[in-house]
Amino acid sequence: MQLSTKHIGNVEYKEENIIFFKQGIPGFENYTKFIIVLSGNEELPFHYLQSIEEANLAFVITNPFIFEPDYDFEIPQEIVESMEIQNPENLSVYAIVNIPENVVDTTMNLAAPVLVNNANNKGCQAILVDREDIKHKVFKNVSQQGEK
């Protein structure tokens, strides 16, 4: 199937790659079907979380552990149940990235990671009650990437 977006042009995807966000994403509760569009550049660990219902709705996501190896949280029990997480090995963790005008100030939201259960393609943005780092600087630990 194909999607025509304004930011990355045409995107090809397969039905089996659709991730279902039953409750949508906070702020965008009406959109429940997303795909992950890989950056296509192995050195660039950022990807798009693209709505297939609204072509103009997409977020940049990253693997937060690349930048914060000590990042750790407990998955709220209600999410373990609603996403039917039986084996944590099937779980992918992403952080939504905010890229401002000055890209060096890019942040990621560690207080509300996006979880995807690869066993059943269920996804959700978990809200972690005990964390407040909604705007966590991405590049502070990656000095070689901070220089042009």
Binding site: H7, I25, F46, H47, F59, I96, V104, A111, A112, Q145
Partner: protein, 74 residues
């Protein structure tokens, strides 16, 4: 909206298994204790509001990965 008046130490029960107790009232602040099953999520409403706002601010407007890759070439 249902509005109930409660004094310090009193509580309300929601759907049989969620108890909300008024622990203390002081200086215009109310301390609330919540006892709920594990599968019920509880958080301050502004937490959800902040995350909604951050998500809205994070929506992609252009091919930002292109921009990132230009700026972070090794």
């Amino acid at each position: 909206m249902l509005i109930l008046t409660r004094k310090k130490g009193e509580s309300i029960i929601i759907s049989g298994n969620i108890e909300i107790q008024i622990i203390n009232i002081e200086d215009g602040k109310v301390k609330i204790g919540i006892e709920a099953p594990k599968e019920v999520s509880v958080f301050r409403s502004e937490v959800l509001e902040n995350i909604k706002n951050e998500n809205k601010n994070s929506v992609v407007e252009e091919d930002v990965l292109e921009k990132l890759s230009k700026n972070f070439k090794k």
